[in-house]
Symmetry: C2
Subunit: 239 residues, 2 copies
DNA sequence: ATCAAACCGGAGATTGAATCTCCGGTTCGT
DNA sequence: ACGAACCGGAGATTCAATCTCCGGTTTGAT
């Protein structure tokens, strides 16, 4: 009869009672999370918390009781998203055929983001990507570095390619999906980019843009470095 | 002393007087247009009409007296933008060396849009691009078609490339500029894409995406065809 | 079965940003 | 010099999104 901690608090660090939470609470929480995944996937992060609540079949009040605001709800999902991307890059880094690994890694990640608008916005856009999923982000970076390094060793990737090129390529593919509305069109341009990425004898001209007038050790774009300056370029004319 | 049409109306089709408009009116109009070009170039179309007015050194009221709303002001500029793009594509279409023409055309257009955020938004995003600059748009399409056609004839462009690929490529380059904040990074990826676009013996795999399950004669993406379905994809799961 | 605490739903208050109007004061053309 | 036309910018208006509040319902315990 006496289950664990029949009536009093068990071995909690403080004297806090455990008043047996109601069953529907947890249920609603799950429903909200699931609905959020769907809504953000289809309509992006700009979807309203009201939308999520309606999609979950609960009231707005319930939504706000579980999550103080939309950002908190998003934060709850971000880690998952990065985890999926990490997994997708792992396959590429581990393939013994480095070229196939490169191609497969790019393809997997592109597949993920082509199907999930919320993921695109979290992974590529936001400066708040820095806020969460850091552990995953580091591993992703390591996977990408490794993929590129091995592809160069095997002589299948042009020597002037850099790891962050793959990130930029994902951004470009995301743009194709976003602006065309076609969920598969990116494959065409991935093929094109892969053909350009492959080591070839007649690539006389090196890729430009290897070094700008920036810091001493930051040849790449702003991602993976300090947060970007934001969508607006300041420093316009002073009247 | 007596200037042209000293006091009465000249040859107007109706009896409307021409009461000699004040000089500052036209001046302010010019100032507003110039300011709008700068502001939209630097901050995009989401800039406020108030912003434009402030930048022009006039009051908001003046702005609204000259243009009923922001869209009207934008419409006044759109034609110019498309004209510049048309001019940029012309060079590519006329070059006797078709490959150089292709490369130069892509580069010129990319330069234009990399420096002008407003142009990016007008030319690539909006469904309202359909509203204005139609004459230019048709000529642009003709230039692009010609460029591609000749490059294929000369055997320098892979046979499975299509004219609308060039449009998509511009979108990708625009995304690079937009998301990196680097005004020159696109050159790197244009090189990459050009290397992928060039006819080569080892391109065994054709580009995918030539035909989807769409209409009978619409293999390409939605631009240059019917207006796009908008940013949101409906048809989500039915609960 | 009964009760009180905890939870739910959704109308609407609040906030914020952008658009547009109105009127006193100034400038232009005659 | 004079009056019409124009200018400037404070603030009314609109619109959408976020969040709060309270009457009614459900849950778990006695």
């Amino acid at each position: 009869m006496a289950g664990p901690s029949a009536s009093g608090a068990a071995g909690g660090p403080d004297g806090v009672r455990a008043p047996r939470p109601r069953r529907d609470r947890e249920l609603n929480r799950r429903k909200l999370l699931a609905a959020a995944r769907e809504v953000f996937r289809d309509r992006g992060l700009k979807a309203t918390l009201d939308d999520v609540a309606r999609h979950a079949g609960v009231g707005v009040g319930t939504a706000y009781r579980h999550f103080p605001n939309k950002q908190a709800l998003i934060d709850e999902l971000v880690d998952d998203m990065f985890a999926r991307v990490e997994e997708a890059t792992r396959a590429g880094a581990e393939d013994p055929d480095a070229w196939r690994g490169l191609a497969v890694g790019l393809e997997r990640v592109a597949e993920l983001q082509a199907l999930d608008r919320g993921l695109r916005e979290v992974v590529f856009h936001s400066e708040r990507a820095a806020t969460a999923g850091l552990r995953h982000q580091e591993q992703i970076r390591r996977n990408v570095d490794l993929t590129v390094e091995r592809a160069k060793e095997q002589g299948v990737l042009r020597a002037d390619a850099e790891p962050w090129d793959l990130v930029v390529i994902q951004q470009m593919l995301a743009a194709v999906t976003e602006r065309s509305g076609r969920p598969d069109l990116w494959r065409r341009y991935l093929r094109l980019l892969l053909d350009g990425l492959r080591a070839a004898p007649d690539q006389a001209e090196p890729l430009p843009g290897g070094h700008f007038g920036r810091g001493p050790d930051a040849p790449g774009p702003d991602w993976a470095g300090p947060p970007s300056p934001g969508p607006d370029a300041p420093g316009s004319s002073p009247a």
